[in-house]
Amino acid sequence: MSTSRVIDGVNVQSHYRDVDHQFSSAKQGIWLFMVTEILMFGGLFVAYALYHMMYPEMFAEGARFLDWRLGFVNTLVLIFSSLTMALGIYYCQLNQTKKAAIALAVTVVCAGIFMVIKYFEYTHKFHMGIFPGAMLNMEQLNNYLAAAGEPLVKSPNLGLYFGFYFCMSGLHGLHVMIGMGLITWLFIKTLRGHFKPNYYTPVEGVGIFWHIVDLIWIFLFPLLYLVG
């Protein structure tokens, strides 16, 4: 049963010895949770690798419908947001509340930019008739390509590639949105002066989450946009 007591101005649950004990336990828990996240995406990566081996031409053809420039911009945006997230933690440790809040706000904005770019990418695909799997409208896509003077689709099962594309980038996008929510929550708490140098566990935890989300994108970008 846990009740809590205050040590050095921090609530410490009674089953922990001190502030550090509580912090390091929480951090370990978050890392374990990250392991589960990585393994979950790992399943997708394994499936991707298997099908890539089975249908290399089809995957190459699929990648040509993605604009690597947009993906690259998104990669830069996310890497930058990782930096600002790290800064947020750093300023929390230094008790510089205002700077911490700004860093967190910039992180949310970057995540927002990422999602807006993704939105345009998705809607453009839908416009062309590209949907995941069996819903891919081959006729619409070929008409579109013919009008644009580009070569028609060669692989009849192109939908499978976009099955992967939408599942992988969609699940990642969902994580980005969850991250945006969490960081916004941190931003408000920071403004209210909730965190101090000896208590910033949520910032640290969300920070770890955010870095993992970025890391996954750094794998997704070459796999989806560049490998072909």
Binding site: M1, S25, G29, G43, L50, Y55, G163, C167
Partner: protein, 534 residues
């Protein structure tokens, strides 16, 4: 909460339903799990009885001896029996009930590392279970608990919802595992080194590692299956060049380790029971502890033994068979060590010890038939027959359920502060043990004769053994009803339990029965191993 005095036991610390539903006390959360898992067990059990009732007679096609109306209904009941028993009873069973209650007590901690997460985990199980039960009214599910594609993509039943339910319950399992790992790493009492931890804690620790590492793969598999149904992404759909067998690989990558999520904690309980009722130090502590970790590690590399005839390559089948044989070794070590612990002991035949001995008996049979199934050529014949059904019931019911019952009676005085009726508990053991063998032993023979599993109807030659099996299921029912009666009677009228009625040496017995809110008056300081019977 802060008002709860130091000497008040956890049951009487607070009153009212709300104090239970919002509790952060690991002991109370354990009780919450206990009540709900019992309810699920009842549901799964009724489904099992219906299935056995239907199989009492052959020729259901001509409406002879009909209990379930048709193949569809049979398939649905079969699915719910499997899904409920696996996801809602056996997986949460030991870790979430007994683990939650006793893990902190056994390592001398005041609680698990993350009490709020612990409660959240219970609510996840509840939410998942609610969704799963809701599917019974929105089209039901008929895929079997394994959700094999492409059948699960094509069937018109509520598969998507069931898959979401299993996903949420998986979340619950991950949270429990994560919590236990950090608890073991961070919250051991002074002097409680890893090698002084009771073997139940070692087993829970190994289980937790599997829960955290394997469940995410199930999560993504189920998500993809749902995407397949909703969006038709094509990854498991042969029409787009997808591979339905890949689903099986993914599914068993989780579900084989999950088998060890079910059995490892049971093995932990058996270690506790045998030392206590033999009044003797465990034989080969280190070997038992590390064999748990060994099983956990190897369990990730054997999934393909579920797929010898699925169309995977001969090489894959061979490698998986070889690795599966390796899992047999740590299991054999444990069996021998338990028997060796009884040597020169002082063995008391209390009902928990009877259950432990029942476990050894049934698990020995479950184990050797497991080796038969791991053998390539033999498995080709037995795969997907009643031989497999008999084997995993011997392991899961004969193993895990016997351990749950034994562990439950062992710790009953500690959990509720009351004694139960010993004679009643023994009778419940006798009925369950005998009934179990009557039900499932004939199924080995049926499998040998070639009766495939998941059959709503069968050919005439299989009827006699099926009848014996069905009669056995009624004996098991009787055993559990007696057990239920013993529990209720013990709760209502049981004599007050002393702190340590069995003379056990582990930490949970060194505090009051039932334990006080903060578990111990003073933080215990550990100076010796867990089983120092002198």
């Amino acid at each position: 909460m802060a008002h709860a005095g130091h000497d008040v036991d956890y049951i009487h610390a607070e009153k009212g339903l709300k104090s239970w539903l919002l509790t952060l006390d690991h002991k109370r959360i354990g009780i919450l799990y206990f009540v709900t898992v019992m309810f699920f067990f009842l549901c799964g059990g009724i489904a099992a009885l219906l299935l056995r009732g239907e199989l009492f007679s052959y020729n259901a096609q001509a409406n002879v001896g009909e209990i379930l109306k048709n193949g569809d209904i049979y398939n649905q009941v079969m699915t719910y029996h499997g899904a409920i028993m696996v996801f809602m009873v056996i997986i949460p069973g030991i870790p979430a009930i007994l683990g939650n209650f006793f893990l902190p007590l056994m390592i001398g901690a005041k609680d698990v590392a993350f009490p709020k997460l612990n409660l959240l985990s219970w609510y996840c199980l509840m939410a998942g279970a609610a969704l799963a039960i809701l599917t019974m009214f929105t089209g039901r599910v008929d895929t079997g608990w394994t959700f094999y594609t492409p059948y699960s993509i094509q069937t018109g039943t509520a598969v998507s919802m069931m898959v979401v339910a299993a996903f949420i319950m998986g979340m619950s399992s991950i949270l429990t595992g994560l919590n236990f790992i950090v608890t073991v790493h961070k919250l051991r009492a002074p002097g409680m080194t890893m090698h002084r931890m009771p073997l139940f804690v070692w087993a829970l620790y190994s289980t937790a590692i599997i829960q955290v590492l394997a469940t995410p793969v199930l999560a993504i598999t189920l998500l993809l299956l749902m995407m397949e149904r909703v969006l038709g992404v094509g990854i498991f759909d042969p029409k787009l060049g997808g591979d339905p067998v890949l689903f099986q690989h993914f599914f068993w990558f989780y579900s084989h380790p999950a088998v060890y999520i079910m059995i490892l904690p049971a093995m932990g309980i058996i270690s506790e029971l045998i030392t206590t009722y033999s009044k003797k130090v465990i034989f080969g502590y280190t070997a038992i502890a590390y064999s748990s970790l060994g099983i956990a590690a190897v369990s990730f590399f054997v999934w393909g033994h579920h797929m010898y005839v699925s169309g995977q390559s001969e090489l894959a089948g061979t490698v998986f068979s070889f690795l599966t044989m390796l899992v047999g070794v740590p299991t054999a070590i444990k069996m021998f060590n338990w028997v060796a612990t009884m040597y020169k002991g002082s063995i008391e035949f209390r009902s928990p010890m009877l259950y432990a001995m029942g476990f050894l008996f049934l698990f020995a049979i479950g184990g050797v038939t497991g080796i038969m199934l791991a053998t390539l050529a033999v498995d080709v014949h037995f795969h997907d027959t009643y031989f497999v059904v008999a084997h995993f019931h011997y392991v899961m019911v004969g193993g895990t359920l016997m351990a749950i019952m034994g562990g439950f009676f062992h710790w009953f005085p500690k959990m509720f502060g009351k004694m139960y009726n010993e004679a009643g508990a023994r009778w419940s053991f006798v009925f369950i043990f005998v009934g179990f063998n009557v039900t499932f032993f004939p199924q080995f023979i049926l499998g040998g004769m070639g009766m495939p599993r998941r059959y709503f109807d069968y050919i005439a030659a299989y009827q006699p053994l099926n009848r014996i099996s069905t009669v056995g299921s009624w004996l098991i029912l009787t055993g559990f009803l007696i057990g239920l009666y013993v529990i209720i009677q013990g709760l209502r009228k049981g004599a007050k339990a002393p702190p340590n009625p069995w003379g056990s040496t582990t930490l949970e017995w060194q505090t009051a029965s039932p334990p006080i809110v903060h578990n111990f008056d003073h933080e215990p300081v550990v100076t010796a191993g867990p089983y120092e019977y002198k």
